[in-house]
Symmetry: none
Subunit: 260 residues, 2 copies
């Protein structure tokens, strides 16, 4: 099974690139983040014409996630609330979570809040959001031990995941609190698929649009696949495809593909 995660920074602006990529790169499920469009305006037909089944959760302007699947998914749920019914509904105002089962494996697709700057209101929201995420996954694990968790985490877990130009100390996406919050999540039983195959630095999935960061390879590895034990065992590869980042008018992120 092949699963890709890609923050596309607007599914409508990037549609042609996404469709081209899908025709050249067979995957079972493509997990999109930052679709930036309400469900009514999501370009479903473009994906359906290719034989994919889209499952979407979007909003105006910001956030938005989608699962584009080769086969119909079962048990699709949107947001935290469907799994954590006692949760305040405000946690699902931002469309950041979608999930479904493909051939017995629960695919979870996330767009973790960016957090803006350390100590800000958005930073506190990010930390709280990650706590809810832990509860959400804990509950899902009770129902299914095989979870493939992916998305834009907006966190680089280790210093090696960040280009050396960055003053890491107290940088958003690299703070101790953020890393600990993410470690608390993966400690439920997940492992980073990319690091099964590659222990080297200078492997990034996101490059800031500013200051020609891509050309200078000043990136961050913040888009991840986390797998539960048996999936991790089965995993055959996890690669970052930097080609889409080279196109004109690219997303600032590039796809990461896991196969197990």
């Amino acid at each position: 099974m092949k699963i890709a995660t890609w923050n596309v920074n607007s599914v409508r602006t990037r549609l042609e690139q996404i469709i081209n990529w899908l025709t050249e790169n067979y995957v079972d499920v493509l997990c999109l983040q930052e679709t930036k469009v309400i469900d009514h305006d999501f370009p479903r037909i473009a994906f359906e014409s290719l034989g994919y089944y889209p499952y979407i959760s979007g909003q105006k302007s910001y956030n938005g996630v989608a699962l584009i699947s080769r086969q119909p998914l079962t048990d699709v749920n949107i947001g935290f609330g469907s799994i954590l019914p006692d949760l305040a509904s405000s946690w699902d105002e931002q469309k950041r979570v979608i999930s479904g089962i493909f051939e017995g494996v629960r695919i979870v697709n996330l767009y973790v809040p960016n957090g803006s700057s350390i100590g800000s209101e958005k930073y506190e929201y990010k930390l709280s959001w990650l706590k809810i995420l832990r509860e959400y996954l804990q509950t899902l694990l009770l129902l299914n031990p095989d979870i493939s968790l992916c998305g834009d985490f907006n966190i680089a877990l280790e210093d090696i995941d960040i280009n050396s130009q960055v003053k890491i100390a107290n940088h958003i996406m690299a703070s101790e609190q953020e890393r600990q919050a993410l470690k608390d999540v993966i400690s439920l039983g997940f492992a980073d698929a990319f690091r099964k195959f590659n222990s080297a630095g200078e492997n990034y999935s996101w490059w800031d649009y500013r200051t020609a960061a891509f050309k200078r390879n000043l990136g961050w590895r913040i888009d991840h696949h986390y797998l539960t034990p048996s999936l991790y065992e089965r995993a055959q590869s996890c690669i970052i495809d930097i080609e889409p980042r080279k196109l004109v008018q690219p997303s600032d992120h590039t796809p990461v593909i896991v196969e197990f």
Copy 2:
């Protein structure tokens, strides 16, 4: 002497097209309207690199005029107030007037208010503005009999200057009051350079972005060169260059060039 007038609808958005046009079309002075940029952010160097001297009067978002000259201009003045010192300074809040002397000829570059719709507050402003303009030119004529007056007048003087699809009766840019106000201005001693050489209809300088107006040649001739008698006598040509309107992401106006 060759003078061009061009409402560029943002000098920054159109910069490449303007520079290309200038390299392919030698003019002594290029008169720009709707530069839509404060003086600090005006792209002077692009013009200076081509050997031109820019004289500018701009504001944030709206209006803005500029003279781009092959030679340094003398006696440059901006707004009505420099010539009509008793005038309320509020008349120069909108940046619509710039003028300077090139080889003894005073070049006046205008962006006449559009007027929105007949009877509106903006319509009254347009009519009042044209009255001030008359005073302004009357004063300038005392100092120099040779004036080349051009710009976006937002008025079609005759029915022949308007495509036949338009219901002219009481249309903004074609009302009797607007036409009379402009006639009161040119009666100071100006004549329409374009009509010295061309009495035909279907010659337009502006086509609405909407409804594929350019493709169907549903335009208006609202960008003019008006010349005082001796310049009018000397005038050798006045042509509308529709080529820039054919480009991708064009201005809705196209240059009009007079030579005398």
